[in-house]
């Protein structure tokens, strides 16, 4: 009975990985070891488990995701997930300060794919492979590519050292970049300090746009 149960579990795990991979990457997309490898689902919680790249203090690191995202109870949202953007949440997934994951989003131009940690739709954990907007725009909009982006964290902050600097919650904030030159500087700097300097200059980059969404991941050296 125990052996049978183990076999079923193993079969389920393998099937989950196959399904997860099939769902996350379309046949036409090239494989990428650099970007994320959202691969399977946790058998206990149903959470997606996988990696994305990120920038931290001038280096590229790996984020390892092991839990579903969290959206706070407020501000009011009509979405079933409770996620809302443009306003900070009224409750956090845990007490104390929570570090921030900055989602760096090019707008109005397409940077080189090598500078994007989510360059290919569906290659990032917690992202849909493509977006179906056909119910809004009609035929021809069932397969809209997901806008590409990259990630920056700053673990020198005190709050980033909670949980031993390992797995923990990260609050999502979005920063838009409208200038290719600014994007290139961010890629070269790979740090929040670079972003802050560019924001201070105030050209080609937005301020931080807050949300009430949180992701759970650990930061690991890039192998």
């Amino acid at each position: 009975m125990h052996t049978r149960s183990l076999s079923l579990s193993a079969l389920f795990a393998v099937a989950s990985m196959v399904v997860g991979c099939a769902d996350q990457r379309s046949p036409g997309e090239p494989s990428s070891t650099r970007s994320s490898l959202a691969a399977n689902h946790d058998a206990h919680s149903g959470a997606s488990v996988g990696f994305t790249d990120g920038w931290q203090n001038g280096t590229t690191v790996s984020f390892f995701y092991t839990k579903p995202f969290f959206c706070s109870d407020g501000p009011p949202s009509g979405a079933p997930s409770g996620c809302e953007v443009g306003e900070d949440g009224t409750s956090d997934p845990r007490p104390g300060k929570i570090p921030v994951l900055y989602v760096m989003t090019p707008t109005g131009f397409r940077p080189d794919a090598s500078t994007l940690q989510c360059p290919i739709p569906g290659n990032c954990i917690n992202h849909p492979s493509t977006i179906d907007l056909s119910r809004v725009f009609g035929p021809g909009f069932a397969d809209v590519p997901l806008p590409a982006h990259s990630h920056i964290i700053d673990s020198d902050l005190d709050e980033s050292q909670s949980n031993g600097g390992e797995a923990g919650w990260w609050e999502i904030e979005v920063i838009g970049v409208s200038s290719p030159a600014v994007w290139d500087q961010i890629v070269a700097g790979k740090s929040l300090a670079t972003v802050r300097a560019l924001q201070a200059a105030g050209v080609g980059i937005t301020d931080d746009i807050r949300s009430n969404a949180y992701l759970f991941f650990s930061v690991r050296p890039k192998t």
């Binding site: 989003t105 119910r135 725009f137």
Partner: protein, 141 residues
């Protein structure tokens, strides 16, 4: 005399104004990602183009009412407004479903844009031509 003249303009202004608002709404974002950084205007898709055409038709109808103040024309344009209202409401329902679906992915930060709501407001204005207001030529005929 002046009062009657202003009444003559009323349905024409309502049709042209409402149609212009509908057309303008199709140019505005209907949905955005990444907290508004990536937006999609309605005119990019078939539904948006259809609504733009409906808005343009309402504007043309407004001009036609000025030239030929026929109550049947007003009713026809009002019916167009009603159809646009129903269409916009249906697409709004689709927008709601879509944003709910995308909200499950927190990094997308999807939210509805103002465009479709503007379209609905314009369509309602055009549909108001069906209302039993004292339109000038109703009394004249």
């Amino acid at each position: 005399m002046r009062r009657e003249s202003s009444r003559e303009w009323r349905p024409s202004l309502v049709a042209a104004g409402g149609g212009s608002i509908v057309a303008a709404g199709t140019m505005l974002p209907w949905i955005s990602l990444f907290a508004g950084l990536h937006s999609y205007a309605g005119i990019a898709g078939l539904y948006g183009r259809m609504m733009f055409a409906g808005g343009a038709l309402a504007v043309a109808g407004g001009v036609a009412i000025l030239v030929r103040p026929d109550p049947r024309l007003r009713l026809a344009i009002g019916s167009l407004g009603l159809a646009l209202t129903i269409f916009a409401a249906w697409v709004l329902w689709g927008l709601r479903s879509t944003t709910h679906g995308l909200a499950r992915h927190p990094l997308l930060l999807a939210r509805p844009g103002p465009g479709l709501f503007v379209v609905l407001a314009g369509a309602l204005l055009v549909a108001a031509l069906l209302s039993p207001l004292p339109w000038r030529y109703d009394n004249a005929h």
